[in-house]
Symmetry: D2
Subunit: 365 residues, 4 copies
């Protein structure tokens, strides 16, 4: 396939562009009997929505999701769930100036070379706006996993440029416009973003997401390890340039005696592994970090070429976040939820009747 | 599927365990007409083979690959290529002592909980030995991409514990047992490994791989971006805990004005992006880094539980590398080659007749 | 996946129910640069539309398709094409009487046992109305294949109950409400349908479709033969109970000396094979027949059980065709087009650069 | 993929050619804990083996299967099961005379045009010999489904040329070289085959397979209906030109009042549908018929072209069955078993915890 589907047993196919009539997704494989309403999806969409704060892109979109199928009397039927979000605010005249030139850091040049031409309005299919559909699909997985397994995924901003943010109270991260897990740092972050904006520059970020209540046994041994599928999902998010599980890049400096997580009847003694061993969940918290590059659309002038290959100067104007990471938290959560949901169902296919003689050590016995 | 296949158009399915009769792969989708012999595969297998140096595991395996199908008169026919490598040295008595207990850092506990029991001999399917099959499959991709596109993939050890290794002469990395790209550091590395071995400990590593000569346009926009599929492939290698593209985790600290790679008619001015924009190759060098955790099998005693859930002490003996990263370079290369090959064919399916009016800036014009 | 996607390189995912808000599809993998408008799809939708004649179901639906993505300035971009058709006429009160009982010949009982409950309004996901989405997707394939390959697919009704219809002028079939390839038989067919309707009964049918201008070489050797994928697609149409290629069931009675199609420099001497040898197209006309069962919704009373398992009598009322085959022609054509399009792209992936030394015998040399 | 994999949750990938070193398969997704030995597979291989009777091809092959992976202490581990069968008798000199010419009815011309050249030894990948791998994989499904669900698949020859064979005692079909379900017809069949052989001609056949003990609920609603996936699997068998479910082609002549199967608390009153409604199993016997064309290799001279496109005469010699249908029964069974196994696991993924309030009517209550 052309890569617009993720998941095998819980398969999410998305469509839509920044400035087309609508965005949407088809979620195939959702188990029947899940109570689901448009409001369940809307909550996550609000969290990612542009225009919610002065620090993010000023595009105004209601992002009202409409469920088109797969439901009957308020419950999923097992049929595919079609959903769409209309694009209301499509000021495509903004983009006429870039139609003939390739913005550095954007997918303009690569789309041009792949397809021979491109939808230059807002990045077309490469726009971060597309993640609306992913977030909506993730909300379905979130509800199922919470209700059936007690599994919860929480994300936060763990770095923004020079600021490292400690998970002081990650559960409050969704309550502030920076998704900061440390409310005491908000003033600093706000100052920094205003400075960036005044200079027309942008900055990178790191987002952390943790899944709690994951049953042991999810993931497939070889290529479709749980962490491999998470890496695939995360690197599929716009602007992501690195994915780490558990201690991540730090493991390259660790000793074996430091890294390993000893087991006890009451649980693991540490979680350097980030919740997966051999690609299969251990029942510990699944810990994922992603690094997002700075927004490519900045007002600092730069050089590029035009569609004929000639050199031209470029300054990006329009509505842009100084830090794409600020809106990435709900997307990272959605991707993690989709992968976990898919693997929960895949595991049930092959091992639905397995009973291990060994007690699960990560839950109360 | 149960996750033992990677790729869609160039699909590699592997099978085999550490101590079973044989390992192997089926490579489906290879274009017809490629000249191919067992020797073409053997070269890469030699590079990953255990027992080639005193620094890696002492298991002795000839690793002679046998091509079973898909060839006629020395050329690929388009039919699936079956290949096997017999396991010659299967000292499974070594593993009796761990049959009832879970080695920390290994997949023992997670396999047990997933499947209800496990093949404890050498880690079974979770053994790094399985990568023999992947490396053999990667060698087929390597030959095709080199002959048809002039594409080359080179990897090296870029870090081992405290040592950062600069790419002084990456092309010589394959010639030394550390895959070090800096020959002047070999004595230090050797000293360090001997110390580790005497302490019964292990250390992590970082491997870098670069693909040169990649045509622009490979990769699919949304979930199957080239970097997403690379992340999936790399995180599917044993012990990998992080995958970075281009500047990787550092992007979280960068400014937009620093990160973006300007375009000129003669090429890009920098390569922070690592060769991909919007998930599609730009024609620049594709740059990938992976972090590998320290070998989990160490001789430092530690605590764990047994299959009944009771606490027990454990000391791993047997044949083990003090640094799994030392053998990972050919595996990382193979995975990158498989992904590139797959996406080259996938691109040809959808865009085989596309002609862009824009000149390719990354090649001599 | 849960089976709502067909095709690998040209992948069509559908969603929607008989009485939900809307039906739709996502078409992923369409090559870029194809000129496409909603009118291109509407033409085929008109051909399958209910309410076009007095002989088919009286449900009134405008079936206006809306293209939501994947297009820019009138051409496909390579991004997924989202399309929806709103359900206007959803008289779901009609179905209250069957909510607790299973209509014989319908999927009511099997959906109930699979999912634990069911959307009883008009059959929900099992309704033939869903084929609207398939027909729209097929129209995209039709346009591409006609413009790029000169390939054309034509279908007709080759049998209805006791009537065998010879392909006297198949190109006129679309012009009459029976899709009869023999205009001289229309009065008989009409009489018969009126009799059936007055008795409240229904009748089966056979539809034939032929693809002309198919290049040799499409199809994969083993499981995904062109005829295997056609069989999959056709048996996936509501009410289809048999799929035949070329001489079909008759081959069981033939001798080898009768069946084989001799080759000459000017082409094959016959076409018993129906255009495929070893699962790969030969360049001859691809000939497919499907048998469709009689409409299950009839007004002849019958016995069934209710959701509690108790016996009850049932008479189906509501809007129903006396012969589902009358509307199946555009659906059969659409499915054949989707399979051919998919295999054209799949073939290009693996064999895009193959040049055979043997001349193609099925085209003017 | 290139079409050498069948199934999603129970995925069978095969490789090998008629005259290569070995044939084989990888079976991925088999649930853990199934007791399995090479003998379990050998039994089905014996049934399909050439050389078992004077009526089938005289090629002598021991067909000893070797299990290479996925087993530990006699039970499946959940890891992929690799299996191979060495080709012992590879008299490839027989095929030199056809290397430059295309046998009518064979895949010679189509492979040539697809791949640019072909492995002409025994048909290469298009040989019926490849089904050895499928039959071995099917034997694994057979064992699982029998032991866990009490499901049994039985096949027989229901037609051979002019002979219709009634299922007088289908359970005895495996005991005679014709797989005839009516032992009283053996002498006639034998006479007929001798006549054919003396004339150097061949004949077509029809094979019927029935699955008993199928739980209701297997199959996916839209494209991957159980009957659609069965049609795909069956049409993927060499020489198959038609697939029918239940009443098959006859439904085109039936009335709705004849065809429908009424439901009662004690079961269905008839089985015209052949065990599936809306693509989902009803719990009734699943009834499948396939039509196989006559063997294409006959000794009646005929015309063809050579690789340069010039006309030449051809007479096929070598080892060939006068009726390929005689060996098809175990292959048809294997394919049906693979599809059922795959759908059993797929169903468990999505609906593993569904409980329907409606009693199952096809089993003793």
């Amino acid at each position: 396939m052309s890569g617009n589907t993720i998941g095998q047993s819980f398969a999410v196919t998305t469509f839509g562009e920044s400035h087309g009539p609508a965005l949407g997704a088809v979620v195939d494989g959702c188990p029947p009997g899940l109570e689901l309403t448009e409001e369940d999806l809307q909550a996550d969409l609000e969290r990612r929505r542009t225009g919610t704060s002065k620090f993010t892109s000023q595009r105004r979109e209601p992002d009202a999701v409409r469920l088109l199928s797969g439901l009957f009397e308020g419950r999923t039927t097992g049929a595919p769930i079609g959903l769409i979000v209309e694009n209301a605010d499509q000021r495509s005249r903004d983009y006429d100036r870039i139609k003939d030139r390739f913005r550095p850091g954007h997918a303009d040049y690569t789309y041009q070379q792949k397809y021979g031409f491109r939808d230059y309005r807002g990045g077309g299919r490469s726009s971060a706006r597309i993640t609306v559909a992913t977030v909506a699909a993730g909300a379905i997985a979130r509800k199922y996993l919470r209700e059936r397994l007690g599994l919860a995924v929480t994300g936060w901003l763990s770095r923004m440029g020079p600021f490292d943010l400690a998970p002081v109270s990650p559960e409050t991260a969704s309550g502030n416009p920076f998704f900061s897990p440390d409310p005491s740092r908000l003033a600093e972050l706000e100052d920094y973003i205003w400075q960036l904006r005044s200079r027309g520059d942008s900055v990178g970020a790191r987002v952390t997401a943790v899944a709690r209540g994951v049953p042991p046994g999810l993931g497939e041994p070889m290529f479709d390890r749980i962490d491999a599928d998470i890496a695939h999902a995360m690197m599929g998010i716009n602007a992501v340039k690195a994915v780490e599980i558990g201690d991540g890049v730090e493991v390259a400096r660790q000793l074996g005696s430091e890294h390993r997580d000893e087991l006890t009847p009451a649980g693991f003694r540490s979680n350097h592994a980030g919740g997966t061993l051999g690609g299969i969940t251990s029942g510990q918290d699944l810990v994922v970090h992603v690094a997002l590059k700075p927004t490519s659309s900045i007002q600092v002038p730069g050089w590029t070429i035009d569609t004929a290959g000639e050199p031209v100067e470029i300054v990006t104007t329009g509505r842009h976040d100084p830090c794409v990471g600020l809106r990435a938290v709900p997307i990272v959560e959605a991707m993690l939820l989709i992968v976990l949901m898919d693997h929960y169902l895949r595991h049930r296919a092959q091992c639905g009747d397995v009973a291990s003689p060994t007690p699960v050590i990560t839950r109360p016995r």
